[in-house]
Symmetry: D2
Subunit: 299 residues, 4 copies
């Protein structure tokens, strides 16, 4: 990349999103004063991410999907960490950053993975157009060659997630209006059936799965599945962080400190005699305690 040395400073930062001059702020070409008061929040998100306006037929569906991802209570690490942050003295910007940052490959990232799965599955089904049941055979192959775990299906908590049927209603409406094609909505449903047949038990679609179906209908990149989840969850994170601030708890650990954690390391031992770190420490003989349950503390 030696050529980078030739980049002029004005070319170092490039964007198609925003065009600013004194007295002028255009977003994707639209003057900000035209957007203010005319384009709603979720349509602004769409404009920022895709460069174009959101069609009305899709708006309700996008609103609903995001509304469904905003919060899942204080047992969710994203929510709990933000509340803990406030109790440590962090301001709301840092608390939201802490909570939103938690939405990694596993927590919040499942939507991204499920989108990648659905797009891939679509291709695999196309290649099997002549099969009696191309979805079952494609899912079977996917589990064999790519991953035995299908993201977006199964829930450790809700037997039926109340958000899923409601979002399917909205997808049906959107399809009836021609706002979406319905292919991935249908595919996700058939994956549920395929998994039931393959595994012999039903793994109901969860919020990550249904959100992925919606975002695939919109043709978004999988990465944005995570990005949109982050925006939505930030709303819940902010609300919980603000609420925590009013509760006055200081240095809030995960559990009250009289609930112990488990220590399972070596028993008490002494440093070797020599000055610093001159050799491996020896475990005191006779001290056979191999782990014990400890009462926790704060700082």
């Amino acid at each position: 990349m030696a050529d980078r040395a030739e980049i002029s400073p004005g070319d170092w930062w490039r964007t198609s999103i925003i065009d600013i001059e004194p007295g002028k702020i255009n977003v994707r070409g639209y003057p900000i004063q035209d957007l203010i008061g005319r384009v709603d929040f979720v349509s602004m998100i769409w404009l920022y991410l895709t460069g174009e306006l959101l069609t009305p037929g899709r708006r309700k569906l996008l609103e609903g999907t995001l509304a469904g991802s905003m919060d899942h209570g204080p047992h969710a690490p994203s929510i709990a960490a933000a509340r803990m942050a406030v109790s440590c003295g962090l301001p709301l910007n840092s608390a939201v950053a802490t909570g939103a940052g938690m939405l990694g490959d596993i927590h919040g990232g499942a939507g991204q993975q499920c989108m990648a799965f659905l797009y891939r599955l679509g291709e695999m089904v196309d290649e099997r157009a002549d099969d009696a049941d191309p979805v079952i055979s494609a899912v079977r192959d996917y589990m064999k060659t790519e991953s035995p775990f299908i993201p977006g299906f199964g829930h450790r908590f809700h037997p039926v997630d109340p958000r899923v049927p409601r979002l399917y209603e909205l997808m049906d409406e959107a399809k009836a209006e021609g706002a979406i094609d319905g292919r991935y909505a249908d595919l996700a449903r058939r994956v549920e059936d395929a998994l039931a047949e393959i595994k012999g038990k039903r793994l109901p679609m969860n919020i990550d799965g249904v959100s992925a179906a919606v975002f695939c209908e919109f043709g978004l990149a999988p990465e944005l599945g995570r990005g949109l989840f982050v925006l939505a969850r930030s709303v819940g994170v902010l609300a919980h962080a603000y609420e925590q601030g009013g509760q006055g708890h200081r240095i809030k650990g995960p559990m009250p400190r009289h609930i112990p954690y488990t220590y399972e390391g070596p028993a008490e031992r002494r440093l070797p005699d020599a000055e610093t770190g001159t050799g491996p420490g020896s475990t005191k003989s006779g001290s056979t305690k191999s782990g014990s349950t400890k009462s926790g503390t704060d700082v």
Copy 2:
């Protein structure tokens, strides 16, 4: 806080926001399946933060205020840091966290400070009801006793910020409809005039100032001024982070590396002879270079 030891685990985490049971998710009492498809994004924000539904007369004003704060281009640290993060290999959740986290007391926090100022000014004006011009006298006193700097006024870049007059139009509409009272909108305007008289030059209201006026009309806590700015700016942060990912730049520093930074520390010197850190290092005599401009690098 010894009494905390008595808290039962089930009382450790408390919330009025969300009520979850298997098959049930209620937000502020409303079943999530009722909210999905019926309550828009900005109204969900309001419900999460205040516990109640947003009235239609206020919705457009809140939408507009948030739309105006989403982005200010790659020279904004929040935007630049998120783009840099992506070029370092961070996923979108971490990039958004990096950008949103930047919105501290100075960048993004001005809205919070301006809200506190406007609320305080309102009280001071009430106490001076008999003055010829209570706003000027209150601003003067505020600058003397609390801070010489009034947050939310003046802009280093825009002579007139195009967002401000547009948001005033929306405030006028909302007042005409009875959705807001108009007190803080008016107060903010009069502060602009007062500052012109006190300082002898016009410091036009900026986006922090006008946003603060809106949020004060809504009666929100100042802290939420920052919180709402964080939610809005996260949209721009996400869009820029995603765009950066498509540009393929690796380890993007703030400037191209052939633009030097300035080193202004001690000239090259030698460690004292003794083993480790046995005394202050002596500057090589004769090496009088007191600082020079260096060509930068990456990692």
Copy 3:
């Protein structure tokens, strides 16, 4: 700051810390190849922060102080949040950032506040040189005029913190060797006595208090009290985050999900009939449940 427009790019970033040219990396004037293998980690910290080499008499004391702050187990929010982060799929850089970021004004920031207190107390005592017991009178005044709460004293968990007497031994040694003056070590001790007399019960010095005494002996800025704590605690955070990765837990909430959290918000209610958010929702009459204990969940 219109004048900033005149800053040349090469003057935008300025530092006295590091001087880099192709083939050359000098830290505070010392070539990096001279430092490597000759200057230990804690002396590098000192060189980076103060610009000079650490004297041997102070090294052991600084090592010990940092060693004492590295960890306080999974009940500490900094440790717990980092472990939660790993279970959400975050890599170690993000997990350390999450944990270190938690060390705000309350958790980890107490050292900074205690340093500010000790420096201020030193001045107040000087002004009272003729008092019979200037420390008691200064503490009394401080509590009256500045804050009723003295940071660095009292511990919710340890009756005697084992780190405190050990660090006092090291301070005594360092004083005997002339490496420190002993003024703030002494002052902190006398604050403990003064608090016992004023409050009628002993509030033993905690790790924040003794660390603050050491850092004040070194003449460091209070802000660096927090900064050094962050570096030290990052060691424990990294170790816990790495250990968590080996435990294979996914989306680790603060408590197992069968331990409920408490919901104390409104009972279930319906949206008003009109489309979106047209008015305040009405609480279902008869539903008098004012809060209940809920079983938590994950995502």
Copy 4:
């Protein structure tokens, strides 16, 4: 994971690192008061991460490796972002978190990748013991089957990185003393030669490569390559963040704002007439400006 419902609260958090009871803090079995004043910082890192004491023969090598990674000036995103954070009003804990968080797969993560490469290469070489030159053939195969890019070799800036030969001196010393085996030190050197032969030009080992060789000699997990880099770089990040605080810059963007960024999005256009987002916006005909260079700004 239905079985998790059965986990008792005391088993939710488990660790082998720290054992805390009132009046007692043991790290890996050693009482904290024994460690304080006897075990230096880098040996504490080792104890935390591995559970055992660092042998003296390895200490200097570990110290040196970490000293070499602490900083690479304001063009490094980790350093620049932390400085920007301070200018936005963030405290030092958040600034360090911002900088450390930047060390993702690309910036700072190269050490981890290079360790994985060296371990894998070691296996591949073993399988080719009978080849004339097993390293060349293994590198060739690796580039063909796993990745054409070998992490840890090549530098965009330093023709010879002054840290590399110095760390090789320390590795030679450590090998002479029997503290390391020398296998990965040797392997890394031979990769340099192999790359010269394969690519026809020399890609000198960089700090990531030499650090990876050291950490592989120590038998550490690749993930800890990144973890240790994070700890080391945090020192430089803290120093730069603290220095920035003294420079008084507010909302420091990546470049002075009179240096423009490049806007390359659509030319100015109008929203369609209908209320909100009722259709795709039309680009104003005649406005063919496809991008222009804009003067940036701050917030």
